[in-house]
């Protein structure tokens, strides 16, 4: 098998920067996220998950869809802004890799491909690094994900201590590995993978949830929720957005930006009616989307077990406790 010595890691990345915008896990100003190689901050290849998920490389926080000019009350020009760059996410973890698969389902399947997402996705390469340690809040295994790696990545790497095992898993991955040929050595070493200490039993949960829509547990669980967007904005799979325009004199842009189903104005309709008037309906919707609706529609869970919401929810609303509770309540229905 191919082994990339850690001493060669920087050189391996440097070889890619001419062709690609290389995004690596970085720590800057107390926040870890995927940032462009060479930007401010400290590389965080050895840390576990980044605080901010990598979804904004495919689905930016704010994205201009088109720009327009107006003269004499006539639209004089519309420019579609759809300029995707070749990107590599280097060091993505298996849970986040799975989140990209979920986003692919949303934006590319069921008969409609979102062109803005599609153009970025086509030019994206992923280099997954398997986890050798798990955080107490990691539960990807319970969500059917292997902490050692993800078959959907173009290149799978695994930390062996002094180097990384490198396996190309696609044609584009193979082409990258070719560029590294002289940096790689051959060897046989055992891959050590993390195992999650936090476990939940997801077996049958979507079906159980289908029977609990009107259950009082949603009132109970949501009582402490403060209705902020921390869970949705740190979640690697949450993908709701809003669209709006920004006018400046004779020109303007239409943009889309992240939105959160936890916000009170999210489901408010014209005329003022809100089908999710309180936080219990909003929280129920979020959890059902994660654990029931998505699996009914796409056959996979929309929660990938990354644990970000468990860490950062200001009041510790905990999806793993909710799953436990759902099992308990479903047994009594």
């Amino acid at each position: 098998m191919h082994i990339l010595a850690k001493a060669n890691l920087i050189e391996a990345i440097e070889r890619l920067v001419k062709e690609f915008k290389v995004l690596v896990p970085m720590q800057y100003d107390g926040v870890s996220r995927f940032s462009v190689w060479g930007s401010h901050g400290m590389q965080a290849f050895n840390a576990s998950n980044t605080l901010l998920p990598p979804k904004d490389s495919l689905f930016p926080r704010t994205e201009t869809l088109y720009a327009y000019q107006v003269a004499n009350q006539e639209i004089t020009g519309v420019t579609v802004r759809d300029q995707a760059e070749h990107q590599i996410i280097f060091g993505i973890r298996p849970c986040d890799m799975q989140s990209i698969h979920c986003l692919d389902d949303v934006f590319l399947t069921k008969g409609y491909a979102d062109s803005y997402y599609h153009s970025k996705r086509e030019k994206l390469l992923t280099v997954c690094i398997g986890c050798t340690k798990s955080e107490p809040t990691c539960f990807c295994e319970s969500m059917g994900i292997n902490p050692a790696g993800h078959s959907g990545a173009d290149i799978q790497m695994n930390d062996l201590g002094s180097g990384y095992r490198v396996v190309a898993q696609s044609q584009s991955g193979q082409e990258i590995v070719e560029k590294w040929k002289d940096l790689l050595s051959q060897g046989q070493e055992e891959v050590v993978a993390a195992s999650c200490t936090l476990k939940v039993d997801m077996n049958g949960v979507p079906e159980m949830l289908a029977t609990l829509f009107e259950h009082s547990l949603w009132q109970e669980v949501s009582r402490k929720c403060i209705g902020c967007g921390t869970c949705t904005y740190l979640c690697p799979t949450c993908h709701c957005f809003d669209m709006d325009i920004q006018n400046q004199g004779n020109q303007g842009t239409r943009f889309r930006c992240w939105d959160s189903c936890m916000f009170s104005d999210y489901s408010r309709m014209a005329g003022g009616h809100d089908p999710r008037p309180s936080k219990s309906e909003r929280l129920r919707n979020r959890f059902l989307h994660k654990l029931q609706f998505f699996s009914e529609r796409y056959g996979k869970s929309l929660c990938v077990g990354c644990g970000r919401c468990l860490i950062k929810c200001p009041v510790h609303v905990d999806i793993t406790l909710l799953i436990d509770q759902v099992r308990k309540e479903a047994a009594h229905v």
């Binding site: 009582r223 904005y233 406790l321």
Partner: protein
């Protein structure tokens, strides 16, 4: 089991069984040892869920706003910060004193769930003992002045305008617009926040530094004379923006301009920006 926790369960059990309140709000244990989220208890047989440990970080008072027209009375466990929050909410006409039974707890400070050291918000606490209560648990502690809590502000004030601007631009570049700071804040009690009125045009929905700054700075100004310094905004910020530095700058200015004022210490003294006096400084006129 600690004495405060024993007493909490006893008091909650009594209040619920006598029908003096129909729910109590305190804290319970989360999945992990360092998590003690808020608990809502309506059944006297469930008071064993209540806990008191060094991770009871979340304020309890803001929850009174969730259901402003509920019929029953609420038993609210309140530390110094929560008690000041209750006063603020009463002053703003948001809650009625007679609908709450305040069970005061003399607090010695909480721990940060990551560093396990004294939480930043508690290091700067001036009123560990509740300023308003019906029942009290623990030994009262006198208010402490803590002038050192303005140290970071004083340091920032020394910097050139350009430097200050760069500092805050960098901080708000991190903002993810989750609004956790606003939603946890007991001074933020507008029926509809300006940030949610995006059709009006105060604030764009775009996530970028300029709009983030408009949100953060407007919110700071809006709560300028109403911030009770509970420090919850800075605690819950997922990206670590030092929001209390902004709030303290405004508190410091207000104290210089209008004299010694501490929001929520009582429910009678009107906040400086909410009253009018002929002696008010008006050098801008």
């Amino acid at each position: 089991m600690n004495a405060i926790q024993i007493k909490m369960r006893e008091v909650a059990g009594q209040l619920l069984s006598l029908g003096e309140v129909d729910r109590v709000i305190g804290w319970e244990k989360g999945r992990f040892a360092h998590q003690s989220p808020p608990a809502f208890i309506t059944d006297e047989t469930k008071v064993e869920r209540l806990i008191w440990d060094e991770y009871c970080l979340t304020g309890t008072a803001k929850y009174l706003l969730d259901d402003p027209y509920r019929a029953g009375k609420t038993g609210l466990f309140a530390r110094g910060c929560d008690a000041r929050a209750i006063n603020r909410l009463i002053q703003d006409g948001q809650v009625k004193r007679e609908n709450i039974v305040i069970i005061g707890i003399c607090c010695t400070g909480m721990s940060d769930s990551v560093s396990r050291q004294m939480a930043a918000k508690c290091c700067d606490c001036t009123h560990p003992t509740p300023v308003v209560y019906d029942l009290m648990i623990g030994e009262p502690v006198k208010p402490v002045a803590k002038p050192e809590r303005f140290k970071a502000v004083a340091e920032l004030e020394q910097k050139a305008a350009q430097e200050k601007s760069e500092y805050w631009t960098r901080q708000f570049a991190k903002c993810i617009r989750c609004y956790a700071c606003r939603n946890i804040c007991p001074a933020c009690n507008c029926r509809e926040c300006f940030a949610d009125q995006y059709r009006v045009g105060w604030l764009g929905k775009q996530h970028h530094t300029a709009e983030n700054q408009v949100f953060g700075l407007t919110r700071a100004y809006h709560i300028a004379d109403r911030c009770i310094e509970c420090g919850e905004c800075a605690r819950v910020c997922p990206v670590g923006i030092p929001l209390m530095e902004l709030n303290r700058k405004l508190i410091k200015d207000i104290q210089q301009l209008f004299g010694d004022y501490h929001a929520g210490v009582d429910s009678e003294t009107a906040p400086p920006l909410g009253r009018y006096s002929l002696d008010d400084m008006e050098e801008f006129m």
